[in-house]
Each structure stands twice: as C-alpha cells, then as structure tokens.
C-alpha cells in the first residue's frame, strides 16, 4: 500500500506551502507516539483529566424494548462531553512538542472546538476556532463555552456557512501562519498523516470497549454501531474489531430529510469518489465536481466527505454503511432520554436510531453502540422541533 493510502483512498492533497508542515507533523507524530514518556503523559491526561476508561453500560431498558442486549460505550461521560477530547489532547500535546505556540481548529457541532479550546487552556496554547456561521447559530452553548475557555471563535460567513467552510478557513489560516501554528483537525480526515494519527489516538475507545465487553459477556459483540461524520468515533470503536470478521460493523451517516430529497449528508449513498480538503474519498458533489451543500439536524455529521479509510472499508465491504433520517434520529433521541435517562448527542442518536430501526434483525444479539457524545448542546435544536 502506498504511504498515506487506504487502498485507493487517502493521500496528501494540499498546497505546496503546507507540505513542509505535513512532513514535520508526520515525523513528530511517529516519533512521539513511539515514545514511552509521551504515551505516559497522554494516558495520564486521559485517565485523570478526561475520565477514562469511560464506562461500558448495559442499557437494560432499551435492551428489553428492542429485544436484544445493548451496551453503550459512554463517550458522553468524557470531560467536555464527547470523544473529541481524546484527539484534541493528543494533538495539543504534539503541538507543544513541535514547539508551536498556537493551535487552530474547525468545528461543526462545537464539540471538537470545545475540546481543542479545553486542551489549549490546559497546555497554555493560543487557540482560534473556525465555525460556520450557521453552526454558530445552532450550537450557541458551545460557542459560549469556547469563549469562556479563552479561545477566539471566528464565525465563517463564506460558502455554505457550515463545517466544510470552517475547514477551508482553518486551512487558509494554517497556510498563512504555518510557521507558528498547528492545525488540530478534528477527525480521521484530511491529508495524511491526519487520518492515521487521529485513528491511533481514538483507538483507545475500541480497546477499552473490547476489554469491557469481554469482561461482562465473555464474548465479542455481534454488531458494533457508530455514527459517521468524518468518522473518528466510528474508527475508534471499530479499530480492534476490524480483524474479527465475525463482528458486523455498521457506520451510520446522516440521512437528513431522506436520501431522495437531496437534503442529507450520506456520502456513501449519494456521493462519488473525489478529492476534497486534502484527501481522496467519497464526496457529495455535482457532475462538475463542485462540492454540494449538505444537510443534517446533527451538525457534527453535516459534511460533504468522509475519512478515506471509511471509503476503503466500504469498498472492501468490511463495514456496512447506512443512514438514519432526522426523524428516526429524533425518535431515538427521545427514546434513549426517557428509557435510560441519558440525553444523547444528535450525532450519536443516529447510531441509536439504526439499532431501534433494526431490532428484529438483531433480535437476541449482543449489540455495542458508541454513544459518542451527550446531547446538552442539542437541547435547543430539539426543543425547536417539538414546539415550532
């Protein structure tokens, strides 16, 4: 396999100005990731600061209701409320090692932005977060949090005013301030080495989950389900199961208002292979190669492309990708809140929606869902859907 590629997907498609930093990052990551001291420092923060290992919870009420055994990997209990803090801390530590004094990041749901702002506060780094103006509007609470954490939030008014435009602006900032700044990309996306590096960081989710479910059930799960925005929480939990062919892996994309309406972010249903924001992967685009506007009630899934390794896992049929609509997602959101007393993030609710929709298919089976984040940030959005 070519370096930086997963099958035919991946690569390094960035302007020349960024290439030295890409190499610097690659070199630094592999050097420090092998260093015991770095690992110790990272794992120390994961344990005492993030609160890992996160629990694996047997959701007994939902299990009864669905007629299966459902376990939730409680990433919602991470400090700052989602799995995003793992990668943010890993990269912020790396930025320090590389001697960068400033970090930047894009954010959709605001979860990655909050995570980066948190890591930057902790480690004494200057921090600037790019966020689409529409997302600033619909995830206000996270904007306030970032501000309180001392980060500067820049609303992006260009393009479609969502996540992809925030990434464009972050890349423009990085190109300009490349000597002093590290770009903390928030998922297993973008130019190599990001997809690989982020995967290594978040694989702790899957390693813990595999150990925990083995301890509780003395066996592997039948199916592992995760929502797929860029694909980090999914890659994290899939990671240790990829080699165990008897475990079915399901990635759930944002079906929005339904695939046929065109208002969705299901790259594997409506997209084709393209090159976008640094990598070759599936992309929602028109016949001229222009990137399409996407839609989802979950801002963290509202993005036109997907991590390149997911494209590889889709084409090699190791992972099944499907989608859940807004409506199905909201139903899962309420059901989980009321049955389990857990308010899930709208992103994670897509994974739960898959399970609820496919109860009969997985009847009596052992099901593991990555509950990637908590829904505090979404309460306003959701309440608007019930009282228009």
């Amino acid at each position: 396999m070519r370096k930086g590629y997963y099958g035919k997907f991946g690569g390094v498609f960035v302007p020349e100005t960024l290439m030295p930093s890409i190499y610097e990052l690659e070199e630094a990551f592999f050097r420090w990731w092998r260093s015991r001291d770095f690992r110790k420092e990272f794992e120390g923060y994961l344990k005492d600061y993030v609160g890992r290992p996160t629990p694996l919870y047997h959701a007994s009420n939902l299990s009864v209701r669905c007629g299966l055994t459902l376990y939730l990997k409680r990433e919602d209990l991470c400090h700052t409320g989602a799995h995003k803090i793992i990668n943010a801390l890993g990269q912020a530590l790396l930025a320090k090692k590389m001697g960068k004094r400033r970090v930047i990041a894009e954010t959709g749901a605001g979860q990655h932005g909050v995570a980066v702002a948190t890591a930057a506060a902790l480690l004494g780094l200057e921090c600037c977060i790019y966020m689409g103006a529409d997302d600033v509007e619909r995830q206000k609470m996270n904007v306030i949090r970032m501000d309180m954490l001392g980060a500067e939030v820049r609303g992006v008014e260009t393009g479609t005013r969502t996540l992809k435009d925030a990434i464009n602006e972050a890349l423009r900032d990085w190109v300009t301030n490349v000597r002093t700044t590290h770009y903390i990309l928030g998922t297993v996306f973008g130019p190599y080495p990001y997809p690989q590096m982020v995967k290594e960081f978040v694989s702790v989710i899957g390693r813990e989950a595999a150990r925990q479910i083995w301890k509780k059930e003395k066996r592997l799960p039948d199916v592992v389900v995760a929502c797929v925005g860029g694909g980090s929480n999914a890659m994290g939990i899939f990671y240790p199961f990829l080699k165990r062919k008897e475990v079915t892996l399901v990635g759930v994309e944002a079906g929005g208002k339904g695939i046929s309406t065109g208002h969705h972010a299901a790259r594997f249903q409506g997209g084709k292979v393209g090159i976008f924001q640094g990598t070759k992967s599936y992309v929602l685009q028109d016949s001229n190669g222009q990137i399409l506007d996407t839609y989802s009630i979950a801002p963290g899934l509202d993005y036109a492309s997907v991590g390149p390794e997911h494209s590889f896992l889709m084409e090699s049929q190791r992972v099944t990708y499907t989608s859940a609509t807004d409506e199905e997602t909201l139903e899962a959101f309420f059901l989980t809140s009321r049955e389990e007393g857990i308010i899930p993030a709208l992103e994670s609710s897509h994974a739960l929606a898959y399970v609820i929709k496919n109860c009969t298919r997985w009847k009596d089976k052992l099901v593991l869902v990555n509950l990637s984040g908590r829904g505090d940030k979404d309460v306003e959005t959701v309440s608007r859907t019930i009282s228009p």
Binding site: V12, F13, P15, P20, I167, V175, T176, R179, Q285, G289
Partner: protein
C-alpha cells in the same frame, strides 16, 4: 518546444519580464471573461492564467473566492473554459495556462481533461492542491499531450523539495511570495530574495513571482531576480468594480504593470 518557453526566451533577450495576469474563467460570464482576456492580450499580457472556478478554493483569499462564486453562479463548467481558450487561441498567440483545484478535473476524468485541454490549446496547467507527491498520474499525461506541468514553490520550500519539484516541473516555476492565500499585500518581505536565489541556483526554468503582487513598485523591487510576475487579486478586484474593460482604474493599473514588467 512549448510556447511558454519561447515567451520567456524572447522576453529575456529583450531585457523584459513576463506579465502574467490571472482571470477566473466565467467571472461573471464566459463572454465577459473573453472580453477581459482580449483586453489583456491587446495591452501587453505575455501569458494569461485562467482559473477554473471551484466551490471550495482553500488557497484563495476573498477576492478570488468571490470571483469563483460568480463564475459558478453563471454555471461555468470545465467545457466552457475549454471553449473560451479555443476561441481565444483563434485570435491570439499568447499562451494560456489553466489554474485550478483537482476535484473538477478529477470529476471530468483526468485523461479526458488533459487531452481536451491540449485540443483546445491550453499550454500549461497549475493544480493548487496537488503537490509533486500526488502528481504521478497526471504528469505523464501532461507530457504526452504537450502541456507544461507548472508547480509552485514557497518561502518554506526547502532544498530537497526544490529538487523534487525540479524533476517534474515544466514551463516555469511559480514562486509564491508569502506563506498565505492569494490576495493583495502592501509589502512583500524581501527576505524571500534568499530563497529565490537558492531556487535560481538549482533550477534552470524561468521563475515567476505571484500572490500579493498588487503594485508596480513590487515588480520594480524584485525585477532583477525573476523572470515574470503573476497578477491576480489586484486585477480581479478592479475587474469586479464594473466588469468593463473601459474601467479607467483597471486600464491604468494594467498599463502601469506592463510598464513595470516591460519598461516603457
């Protein structure tokens, strides 16, 4: 021999520098872009760079982002750009190079794109988000069809990368004046002179300076060290005033740039 090389040879003999204006194809329509190119060709452009509009121009500043948006709003597609170049080539001998992002080219089909570009008289291609590492597929095609593969170098490009770029670069080397996106700048830091000298020492291709060339003064400052100057945002900003080649500010500015590059 590619026409681009001939342009630099001739200018070099005459003690002049190439003036390379940039326009976004289809901004605000293909017809208007043609008028603009005609104006540039008649008034002293040596090579014209035509941008292929893209929805997400990550290496461009606000001026060229807006131009791209206008072009897409007008429905501009790759085939329209090819038709534009074909029409231009019927009337002028000035080489046209295309500049763009990879995805529209990839969606068109890489070989189909390169062969049709050649058929329509495109002389060079710059792909902003394709470093040499990812050029393995397209470079042999560009050679096969006789189109120059133009690459960028920047203030942070080190010696090893310059040598890597040298192997596959044709036509000219496009030196980006600053770390940053396209856009006008009052000053270009003169510490890039060291880098320019290093590049000139390693590469025999003509080297042009681009990004932020917003004033004839900048051309004068760097005149002895380079072979040409690319003028993008400064021109496009004046163009978007009225989209008219009779716009006095546009005419004056371009005239001044011609004088700076060619002498009066």
């Amino acid at each position: 021999m590619n026409e681009i090389t001939n342009v630099f040879r001739r200018l070099n003999r005459e003690g002049k520098k190439a003036l390379i204006p940039y326009v976004t194809g289809g901004d605000p329509s293909i017809e208007k872009t043609y008028e603009f190119m005609e104006f540039l060709a008649r008034n002293g452009a040596d090579i014209i760079e035509v941008g292929i509009p893209f929805s997400d121009p990550m290496a461009d500043g606000p001026v060229i982002q807006r131009a791209s948006e206008r072009a897409l709003k007008a429905g501009t597609a790759v085939k329209d750009i090819f038709a534009l170049v074909r029409r231009f080539n019927k009337a002028f001998t000035i080489p046209v190079v295309l500049m763009g992002y990879l995805n529209p080219i990839y969606a068109y089909g890489v070989e189909r794109f390169v062969s049709e570009a050649a058929d329509n008289g495109v002389k060079g291609l710059i792909i902003v988000d394709m470093p040499p590492e990812e050029a393995g597929e397209i470079c042999p095609l560009l050679r096969k069809y006789g189109i120059a593969s133009i690459f960028l170098a920047t203030p942070v490009t080190n010696r090893d990368r310059i040598l890597k770029i040298k192997k596959i670069a044709r036509g000219f080397l496009y030196f980006v004046s600053v770390t940053g996106v396209t856009g006008e700048r009052d000053e270009i830091p003169t510490d890039i002179l060291e880098k320019i000298k290093e590049i000139k020492g390693l590469i025999s291709l003509p080297v042009t300076l681009g990004f932020g060339i917003s004033h004839p003064r900048i051309v004068e400052e760097f005149f002895p060290y380079l072979d040409g100057f690319v003028v993008g945002s400064a021109l496009v900003r004046r163009w978007e005033h009225s989209f008219s080649v009779d716009d006095p500010e546009l005419k004056n500015f371009f005239q001044e740039m011609v004088i700076a590059c060619h002498g009066s």
